[in-house]
């Protein structure tokens, strides 16, 4: 397996969707390839950081405005 082939499979690797045969080939490649080990670690961390940075809660003022907007519209459409 080449680095290009290994990197192509990372999404399925993280989702544990690789067949046992391909998983074995990928693990064997990672065993001998330091750049790909670094790539896997940083790829996995990228996913974590995206979740941490973008998983923001709804601001309270927006929540209040949304509730007021909906109550008002529902009252007018009943």
């Amino acid at each position: 397996m080449t680095c290009r082939e290994a990197i192509e499979k990372l999404a399925e690797y993280l989702d544990a969707e690789l067949t046992p045969e391909v998983l074995q080939q990928l693990d064997a490649h990672l065993e001998i390839c330091a750049p790909c080990r670094a790539y896997v670690a940083t790829y996995r961390k990228t996913r974590e950081l995206v979740a941490k940075v973008r998983r923001v809660q709804l601001p309270e003022d927006l929540k209040t405005r949304l509730r007021a907007f909906l109550v008002d519209h529902i009252a007018h459409t009943k």
Partner: protein, 201 residues
């Protein structure tokens, strides 16, 4: 308990005119709708209007939801349509080609780049550095600069943790296409983080 009521029974109650059901659905979905809308519109004011539109649609057209798919998928589909409409004509600005941020390979399939760069592993850096204001801003800019059809899919997969199949249903594309976009988006973001956090050449 309202908080434990399933989505379909909440919709039923909403159809019967019970405002409390809408309140519970808001608690369950408003933040997610807002995050997705913000990702697509890249604009806080537009995202707020999208959230309003989506909840009005849930209230008015909830009866058109037939329960064949998860309510969440339907809500995400409504959100994507509303957000794309909102930014109609506002394409361009910050979007860059994703190709320029994908890893390059030589003829033998090895990654291109000097040794310190391809070996850079910043994954063990302390959270204080990885979640600094500067890195957050860089990552937010990098997400915003992804093309439309990558941003929505990335947010649904990595922020909302939706299964690929549910995302495929929400955006009307194949599972293979969802997987490919998520992977390419992550690679593009990883590359930009590495340029920022990895060793300089």
């Amino acid at each position: 308990m309202d908080d434990e009521a399933d989505d379909l029974s909440l919709l039923e109650r909403l159809r019967a005119g019970e405002c409390r059901a809408l309140e519970v659905l808001m608690g369950r979905y408003a933040a997610r709708v807002h995050r997705l809308a913000r990702a697509i519109t890249r604009n806080t004011a537009d995202a707020e209007e999208v959230v309003q539109d989506v909840f009005m649609t849930i209230y008015r057209k909830g009866e058109s939801f037939e329960g064949r798919s998860a309510l969440g998928s339907w809500i995400y589909r409504v959100t994507i349509n509303a957000a794309l409409n909102k930014r109609h004509g506002k394409r361009h600005q910050v979007e860059t080609s994703i190709e320029e941020h994908l890893p390059g390979f030589d003829a033998s399939g090895h990654r291109k780049g000097d040794r310190p760069y391809v070996l850079a592993d910043w994954s063990q850096n302390p959270d204080a550095a990885l979640l600094s204001e500067e890195t957050r801003a860089l990552l937010n800019r990098a997400v915003d600069s992804l093309p439309d059809h990558y941003r929505a899919v990335l947010v649904l997969r990595d922020v909302e943790d939706l299964p690929n199949a549910e995302i495929a249903e929400a955006i009307g594309e194949s599972v293979a296409s969802v997987k490919s976009r998520v992977h390419r988006a992550r690679m593009a973001l990883r590359e930009q983080l590495t340029r920022h956090l990895g060793p300089r050449a």
